[in-house]
């Protein structure tokens, strides 16, 4: 039985697949082609005319060129907009198409019946709740357990790529430029010192100077691109002490056009250019989920992670203690807590919100006024905490009554709090 820990970098133009290799303790790219250097799989689907046969990546283009099939692209954007595509008079939802695409992508590695997915981590450019819900549903259809699916941002995948490769928290700041057809992005990984557990911060900036990669086909365009990248690098990095620079994305598949940029970047820094970085970071996360204890005992702050710790005071075995509703550094999409409490002469719930980097805490208050008045200790509440977005926590409070002594009227309060 082969148990795979997989990472998928899902983007509108290209997607990439990676797996964690236990023998080498590293993440490795999976290629869709015989040439293993090509791990970028175009995010397109091609349906064979008149048959329920589907192809992805370069094969999809080949089939379309031969006139054998019909192509659908921009699958991620379509999913975010909950869109549809009509092929041969049949309407397909974005979920159906994405499910076919991901299913085919996974076939690149799950080649025998003995293969099983232990953990699958998707990494996406932007954590759109619609897309995240849809990926979980796609996982359901592909019979991958919900516990085995996680969705992280590119920023987080980048942090874990660096952590996974070095095996420990790096001592210095590093940065990453991701140049694709759809944008130019800057990421920075900082280590915040003097905190226990150690804190690692990931910054992401969507740079305005993005350009079409077509310009790299001509000499003048190459020079223009080089000057843009060089200017951006100098502006972003400035006088910061950055020891390592990573370059990724279709735009950096070749670097012969980035002469001046590389000259500047290489001054006292190590520069790595290559593909599959986000997918490999995701594979490291996938592997970490299989461990009884994390190999990365750090608080990671980045897109997709909660920036505050939220608690409420409760009584447990007669003693006052804090119930942690959400922890700073945890994945917001997976941060779900369910607790049952008995109310003793309280008509409000107070939550303490401590944001990392802020000295003072805030208090959120939730009123229980709409629940029926009962004698002390005869109301059992179910509290469900979940995040609907990175900065928006939903609290559902359900009146469970107190058995047959004080039956519940079924009332429920739902309130949203912004971080």
């Amino acid at each position: 039985m082969k148990n795979w820990c997989l990472g998928i970098d899902l983007c509108d133009d290209y997607s990439q697949l990676s797996y964690y290799n236990r023998k080498t303790s590293g993440a490795e790219a999976v290629s869709a082609d015989q040439d293993e250097r090509f791990c970028l799989v175009p995010t397109i689907l091609c349906k064979k005319k008149g048959a329920d046969e589907w192809f992805i990546g370069q094969e999809a283009y080949r089939r379309a060129l031969l006139g054998e099939g019909i192509i659908v692209d921009r699958l991620v954007s379509m999913a975010v907009k909950s869109g549809t595509a009509t092929i041969e008079e049949r309407k397909y939802t974005a979920a159906e198409l994405l499910e076919r695409y991901i299913g085919k992508l996974l076939e690149l590695i799950l080649m025998d019946e003995d293969s099983r997915i232990m953990q699958l981590v998707f990494t996406v450019q932007k954590l759109e709740p619609v897309l995240m819900d849809l990926l979980v549903k796609v996982g359901d259809h592909l019979e991958i357990s919900r516990d085995a699916i996680h969705i992280v941002s590119h920023t987080e995948a980048y942090l874990f790529y660096v952590l996974g490769r070095s095996g420990s928290a790096p001592q210095h700041t590093s940065c990453l430029f991701d140049l694709t057809e759809s944008g130019f992005h800057y990421y920075e990984m900082r280590v915040v010192r003097g905190r226990t557990p150690q804190m690692i911060e990931g910054i992401h900036e969507d740079l305005e100077e993005s350009f079409s990669l077509d310009i790299l086909e001509q000499e003048p365009g190459m020079k223009l691109a080089d000057s843009i990248v060089s200017a951006c690098a100098q502006r972003q990095m400035g006088k910061k002490i950055i020891h390592s620079v990573y370059l990724t994305g279709k735009g950096f598949e070749r670097t012969d056009w980035a002469v001046d940029s590389l000259k500047w970047l290489c001054q006292g820094r190590r520069v790595y250019a290559g593909q599959n970085l986000f997918a490999q970071g995701a594979a490291f996360i996938a592997w970490d989920h299989t461990r009884p204890e994390t190999a990365y005992p750090y608080i990671c702050l980045c897109e997709g992670r909660i920036s505050s710790t939220i608690t409420m005071e409760v009584l447990h075995r007669g003693k006052s203690c804090q119930l942690v509703v959400a922890s700073a550094g945890s994945n917001w999409y997976e941060a779900k807590v369910d607790a049952e409490l008995i109310v003793d002469q309280e008509d409000q719930i107070h939550f303490q919100v401590q944001t990392i980097g802020e000295a003072d805490s805030r208090t959120w208050t939730l009123s229980l006024d709409m629940f029926p008045k009962r004698p002390p200790k005869t109301t059992r509440l179910e509290l469900i905490f979940a995040f609907v977005e990175e900065n928006s926590m939903m609290v559902r409070v359900i009146d469970k009554g107190f058995g047959e002594l004080f039956p519940s009227g079924g009332q429920e309060i739902k309130q949203f709090f912004s971080l």
Binding site: M312, V314, L315, R317, L341, V343, R380, E404
Partner: protein, 271 residues
């Protein structure tokens, strides 16, 4: 100090049934609440094998179940009850001290006190026939047990309320009249007056009727009208109104549902 107690265990899938109270218990907190508030209802057989099995298999309180099994028959019921209360994270230290005092009080209680508590509980739970049966049982032994006059008055009064719950209006009026004879409490006269407004056909003795001046009757009538208007706007009445406004099929479905609920409620009441 927080006012939210963490419930460490989920509710039982198969509840524990307390026959005397006609009550299903789903959690250790409900069990403690019942014990604390109905101590007089609890007899020596309460901490039995069935309860111990419930604590162990449904609530996962293995340690408590083991202790109760070990000490059952060797310790008094009061001590076993205290063991349960101390084990469950529900009552505070000062509340447990008060419970301990109540246990001592119960030790000294007369048999009619215990029976009255049980009957009062039955009335509260709307198990009226059972309650009336117990009140009758005590009143039949009035001489044998030398029941104090004041308590006799309360017994007749509560019996009357239970009878009113069954809509046995004349019997209820007779019981309340007997209660007034013992207690001379004007609130009982008011209850009798309300009973008469609810069911004008009932007979109230002339001596009792003469005790309520016309002015007082007028005031009580006004109060009664307020309650009557409130009752007309109660959720149950509004539900019936809504049902009657629905189309033929939906009206039939909803009225059948309401009738089934009423029948169920009545069966619960008389079982």
């Amino acid at each position: 100090m927080s006012g939210f107690i963490v419930c460490g265990r989920p509710l039982a899938k198969n509840p524990y049934y307390i026959q005397e109270a006609g009550l299903h218990i789903y959690s250790e907190q409900e069990l403690c609440y019942y014990i604390y508030n109905n101590l007089m209802m609890i007899d020596d057989g309460f901490v039995g094998d069935r309860l111990i099995r419930f604590l162990e298999s449904e609530l996962g309180m293995d340690e408590l179940a083991r202790k109760l099994s070990k000490w059952k028959g060797k310790m008094s019921t009061a001590q076993l009850l205290l063991m349960i209360m101390q084990e469950v994270d529900y009552y505070r230290e000062d509340e447990l001290e008060e419970f301990d005092r109540q246990l001592e009080k119960k030790e000294q209680a007369k048999p009619y006190d215990l029976l009255k508590s049980r009957a009062d509980y039955m009335t509260k739970q709307k198990h009226y026939p059972k309650a009336i049966e117990i009140y009758d049982h005590i009143l039949e032994r009035e001489g044998e047990w030398a029941i104090p006059r004041e308590l006799l008055g309360k017994l007749w009064h509560n019996r009357g309320l239970a009878q009113a719950g069954m809509f046995w209006m004349q019997e209820a009026a007779d019981s309340l009249a007997r209660a007034y004879g013992f207690l001379q409490d004007s609130d009982i006269l008011k209850e009798l007056f309300y009973l008469h407004l609810l069911e004008p056909g009932i007979t109230i003795s002339e001596e009792i009727a003469a005790l309520i001046p016309a002015q007082q009757q007028y005031r009580w009538q006004e109060e009664y009208d307020v309650y009557d208007r409130q009752a007309a706007n109660a959720p149950q009445v509004r539900r019936i109104d809504r049902a009657m406004k629905k189309d033929r099929h939906r009206k039939k479905d909803e009225t059948e549902r309401i009738l089934t609920e009423w029948k169920q409620e009545y069966r619960e009441m008389v079982k």
